[in-house]
């Protein structure tokens, strides 16, 4: 059983239109590398210098990784990961 990753619309061009993909990884950083391997371009979209980009929210089983172990947040088979762009702005 792998990890299910929900892909947001702006990144679905990289996944051939798939809204959900599967991969294997032990933590979020490994997940980014695994996604990059299968869907080139993903790493640059998601991270910068080994950190998840600001305004990109990543949830593991509904928990925001910023309130867990950030990029080191542990993943296990069967986990569900969601990548969600933040909604922000300002005058």
């Amino acid at each position: 059983m792998a990890i299910k990753v929900r892909i947001p619309t702006p990144l679905q061009k990289l996944t051939n239109g798939k809204a959900e993909v599967e991969c294997s990884a032990k933590n979020v950083l490994e997940l980014v590398d695994a996604l990059e391997k299968d869907y080139p371009g993903m790493k640059e979209r998601l991270s910068d210098g080994g950190k998840i980009r600001r305004f990109i929210n990543i949830y593991v089983n509904e928990e925001d990784i910023r309130f867990a172990n950030k990029e080191e947040t542990v993943l296990k088979d069967g986990d569900s990961v969601s990548i969600v762009p933040a909604i922000a702005g300002g005058c």
Binding site: P8, P10, N57, D64, A86, I87, A88, G90, C91
Partner: protein, 163 residues
């Protein structure tokens, strides 16, 4: 009127009633009141929320927490946003739009609004089918509410149909 403090996104040259307002968002008057009340409650800071719906019609308004409140900035609380998006999926609704207030600015997307509408470092819209509703509270007794699409580097006004 140009807001001196906020960067206003460039308006498309051809923004006219006839050829640009092709998208429409329908919203109930009672939902519009909920939006304006939430924005007024957040004053002098910006307030924000999500408009869930289908087929260009708002079915449900989620008033959200501004996780970084300020008079010129909003950022939806990430965990709340996640819960709302899950709730929408379970109810078969999509993100028809989102709203936020401009406490002292006009009802037009700022350059920050446009920048944040795209995936960081790209011009890929984060929520391509969503209408960005902006509530100007410059005159709090007469709030101005307008909707926009932000796509391919272009801001277009969207007709809001109050039903």
């Amino acid at each position: 009127m140009r807001n001196a403090e906020c960067g206003i996104a460039p308006r498309p040259a051809a923004l006219t009633e006839g050829d640009e307002k092709v998208v429409m968002l329908s919203i109930k008057k009672s939902d519009l009141q909920i939006i304006v009340e939430h924005c007024n409650a957040g004053f002098p800071n910006e307030a924000c929320g999500i408009l869930a719906g289908r087929d260009g019609r708002v079915e449900k308004v989620y008033c959200m927490t501004n996780a970084r409140p300020g008079p010129d900035y909003y950022e939806m609380d990430p965990e709340e946003q996640f819960r709302v998006m899950k709730d929408m999926r379970q109810e078969g609704l999509v993100m028809a739009g989102m709203f936020h207030s401009h406490p002292t600015g006009q009802a037009y997307p700022s350059s920050v609004d446009v920048e944040k509408a795209y995936w960081p470092g790209t011009e890929l819209p984060n929520y391509p089918d969503a209408v960005y509703v902006i509530v100007s509270l410059t005159d709090r007794a007469n709030p101005v509410v307008k909707g926009y699409s932000i796509d391919e580097g272009t801001v277009r006004e969207v007709s809001l149909s109050v039903i």
